[in-house]
């Protein structure tokens, strides 16, 4: 970068609103002068990590994003895939980590609101929400309040808008003590030929603002702390964004109603960096300019400046480019729902963003150079040091009954019922597989088919070996979708990491991406959307690297699904996939020995595909009575979960009963139950899939091992169902 424009001396580094000095110089070059205050604000948010992906772009580009069924990959508000019959599924995941830590209820609630808008802005009716949550150690003084607030916030928003929250995951780990993660995902459906994009078109077309009014919510915190706002600072301090799910519900209905007409040229939600990013992105993608007259922006507060209006992150707002003769159509629909609808500008051929207020031009900047020059860093990265496998033979022995009891009631495995019962997971009436299974299944009205969806990540594996962990996160979603009988189609990913300017952290990011890439390729399971959240650290202590994967799959025939509940006494229990007994980075090692060590279980993508395709085939052919994939806690935990769900027991005779075999976390495994084991095992042999009968379902509420171990299912239920409610009812 070479500087052509002279900088004024008064712009000290901390006046640059978070821009690096070199970035500021570049901004000056683009402007041919020093930017005004409003312009600087716009540069600063457009080039922020959040909007520009400057640290991650280089690597995100390496992810596979294409398949025959991908209609729209990353780059739009959400990803779009073809699900047959002229239907499309639109989905994305997004983080709201920092806001949720500051104000858990509103942070989480507005996270849900934001991701819903990303999905319905493309024309989809949202049909399901999911969320992936990570909290600190349960004993940390902040954890309980964060759990309570985040869960209430997700429920408070999702329940009110009438979109069922059907799935998610929750982990606890000390690395999240100062930095919880709240990742929210929305899945919607639309007609394939009625998808709306954000690229503006047609100079002269009106730019229309709809939804809630603009206030001083969430204006760029870093900037607000800068010196220029000393007077009146109380008034102008950034405020926490408060969500209004009631308005969002009306906004969804109004937008979908408008989308049913032919009025819309382009549409985009106002998310991070609000009016700035929506207007710049829309105009930029269309190669056009945009003139905004901020006096027409519906405002909630008086005396807002251009800077404040451009950077406000008030919720429940959308920006629409309309056909000029359709303004009345839009006005009528938004009036019906009592929402604001105001023409605040028009598209131009100038390629410039011009912002006026009180008749004065507060910003006039070239869009393409700003977007193109948006920085892309090739940050130095250091690969994570490989760990040695753990030698299970050298570990102390424990009674498997006691281990199972402890694992089933440990924070990471205990039932999440306390959480999902606060989410309306039934509204709309199409929730087929409710929370608590491997993946949720949501039916589509008037269709035979259904969508399956889930979110997963195993951060302790990613921490131990980013590449293996990245791959594992992808395959775990693939396996969960497979376990309910769905064909996995595509993923959305939420990359939650620490400070990318530290080479070790960047190394985690790069490793995870490499692993994800391999898995996506091997499974024909592309990435269609995603989100990156960096700088998740407090006092130099980074979170465990957490690439959350949201997977979506399809069941051609919704009536041919499987779930994990053991069904009939006498059914044969079959273990599919090979078991060596891998305890490195396992939950067993952490909970029983207090050790977070060792290489994580290797991921064999060929075996994953072979075993998964085999299991899915059995489900679709109706040859299994129940199915569950094995993950955290391994075989015995998986069986216990099946027993709890089915209120049954099992008589087990696995080939080995050492703890490594019973609790090892070898990948690519499923447990299925069947009435016809002979046929199943023969088919497995033919498909070259390892499979063996390891027991039978019984009517006694007991798990028994052939060497005499007996475990009460009711006792397990107490441990499993008891932990979270008991934990949440304590006060601190």
């Amino acid at each position: 970068m070479k500087t052509k424009t002279k900088r004024k001396s008064w712009r000290k580094p901390n006046d640059l609103m978070g821009l690096a000095p070199a970035e500021y110089d570049l901004a000056c070059d683009i402007m041919g002068r020093e930017p005004t205050y409003t312009e600087l604000g716009i540069f600063s948010v457009m080039w922020s990590e959040h909007c520009s992906y400057k640290s991650s772009k280089k690597w995100l580009k390496t992810l596979p994003t294409k398949a025959r069924w991908v209609i729209c990959g990353p780059g739009e508000n959400a990803g779009v895939i073809d699900i047959g019959d002229g239907d499309a599924c639109i989905f994305k995941i997004e983080s709201h980590n920092h806001p949720s830590y500051i104000e858990p209820y509103q942070g989480a609630a507005t996270g849900v609101g934001g991701i819903l808008r990303d999905v319905f802005t493309m024309g989809a009716r949202p049909i399901a929400n999911l969320n992936a949550l990570r909290f600190g150690d349960p004993s940390h003084p902040k954890t309980r309040r964060l759990v309570a607030g985040v869960v209430a916030g997700i429920g408070g928003y999702g329940n009110c808008v009438g979109v069922p929250t059907v799935g998610g995951e929750t982990n606890f780990h000390a690395s999240y003590n100062g930095n919880c993660l709240v990742n929210a995902m929305t899945v919607g459906v639309a007609r394939k030929d009625k998808i709306f994009y954000s690229a503006a078109a047609g100079a002269g077309n009106p730019v229309v603002y709809v939804g809630a009014k603009t206030g001083r919510d969430g204006i760029h915190g870093a900037t607000m702390a800068s010196a220029e706002f000393d007077d009146n600072s109380e008034e102008k301090r950034p405020t926490v964004q408060v969500g209004d799910p009631f308005v969002e519900k009306l906004l969804i209905e109004a937008c979908l109603e408008l989308m049913a007409t032919d009025a819309i040229v382009a549409i985009q939600d106002m998310g991070a960096a609000g009016l700035t990013s929506s207007s710049v992105e829309m105009a930029g993608k269309g190669g056009l300019g945009i003139d905004l007259d901020l006096d027409n922006v519906p405002a909630r507060e008086t005396g807002m400046t251009s800077y404040e209006m451009m950077l406000s992150e008030s919720q429940e707002r959308m920006l629409i480019i309309l056909k000029p003769d359709r303004i009345k159509v839009a006005e009528k629909i938004f009036a019906k729902y009592e929402l604001d609808c105001a023409t605040i500008g028009h598209l131009t051929k100038t390629g410039r963003l011009v912002v006026r207020k009180n008749g004065k031009v507060d910003a006039d900047m070239p869009i393409a150079p700003m977007v193109q020059a948006s920085p892309e860093y090739s940050r130095p990265w250091k690969p994570t040091k490989k760990r040695k496998p753990v030698d299970a033979a050298k570990l102390p022995k424990h009674d498997p009954a006691r281990v199972l009891q402890e694992l089933m009631g440990c924070p990471d495995l205990a039932s999440r019922r306390w959480i999902w019962e606060q989410y309306d997971h039934l509204v709309r009436g199409h929730t087929l597989q409710r929370p608590g299974g491997d993946a949720a299944i949501v039916g589509l009205p008037g269709r035979r088919k259904a969508l399956a969806m889930c979110v997963d990540s195993t951060p302790r594996y990613v921490h131990a070996d980013p590449e293996t962990g990245g791959a594992q996160a992808v395959v775990e979603t693939w396996r969960n979708l497979t376990a309910v009988g769905a064909k996995p189609l595509a993923i959305t990913d939420n990359m939650n990491f620490g400070n990318p300017q530290r080479p070790e952290i960047m190394g985690q990011f790069v490793g995870a991406i490499k692993g994800m890439r391999k898995a996506c390729k091997a499974l024909s399971y592309p990435v269609v959307s995603g989100n990156v959240s960096l700088y998740n650290e407090t006092n130099g202590q980074a979170i465990l690297p957490t690439p959350t994967i949201g997977g979506v799959g399809i069941l051609k025939d919704a009536s041919k699904s499987a779930n994990l509940a053991l069904k009939d006494a006498g059914d044969t229990i079959v273990l599919v996939g090979a078991t060596k007994g891998w305890l490195g980075s396992s939950l067993y090692l952490r909970e029983m020995e207090g050790r977070e060590e060792g290489a994580p279980p290797p991921v064999d993508l060929k075996a994953e595909k072979r075993n998964g395709d085999f299991v899915r085939g059995l489900i679709v052919k109706g040859q299994v009575n129940s199915c569950h994939d094995l993950a955290d806690g391994g075989l015995l935990v998986g069986l216990a979960e099946m027993a709890l769900a089915g209120r049954k027991g099992a008589e087990l005779s696995p080939p080995r009963t050492d703890n490594a075999y019973l609790f090892g976390e070898d990948q690519a495994r499923y447990v299925v139950t069947t009435k016809n084991a002979k046929r199943l095992l023969a088919a497995a042999k033919k498909a070259k899939v390892p499979a063996m009968a390891i027991g039978t379902v019984s009517g006694h509420l007991e798990l028994t091992l052939h060497d005499g171990v007996r475990i009460s299912v009711d006792g397990l239920r107490k441990a499993h169902e008891g932990w979270l409610p008991a934990y949440m009812s304590q006060k601190n």
């Binding site: 500051i102 104000e103 209820y105 509103q106 206030g215 001083r216 919510d217 008034e235 405020t239 926490v240 964004q241 408060v242 209004d244 009631f246 308005v247 909630r300 507060e301 008030s314 919720q315 009592e338």
Partner: protein, 80 residues
């Protein structure tokens, strides 16, 4: 002793209830309605040896439980 506590949203924080109530009142035909703000009102009976210690302890209660100080203000009155 009795503590009366008013918990209200800070200035600038969107008051979704207030907005809804204002709209509701307008649709019922009430004219001339300006800003409407909705808050909480908490009354607590407590035994404290004096006003000052009551006030101090109620302040603690507000900070710890009764108000969400990120978005809310509170005001305490102590009555005998």
């Amino acid at each position: 002793m009795k503590a009366k506590i008013h918990v209200t949203l800070k200035n600038g924080v969107l008051d979704v209830q207030g907005k809804a109530v204002a709209a509701g009142l307008a649709s019922l035909g009430f004219a001339g309605i300006g800003d409407v703000r909705v808050g909480r009102f908490v009354e607590i009976e407590l035994s404290a040896k004096d006003r000052a210690s009551a006030e101090a302890s109620v302040k603690q209660m507000c900070e710890k439980l009764l108000a969400n100080t990120v978005i809310e203000n509170y005001r305490i009155e102590i009555a005998e």
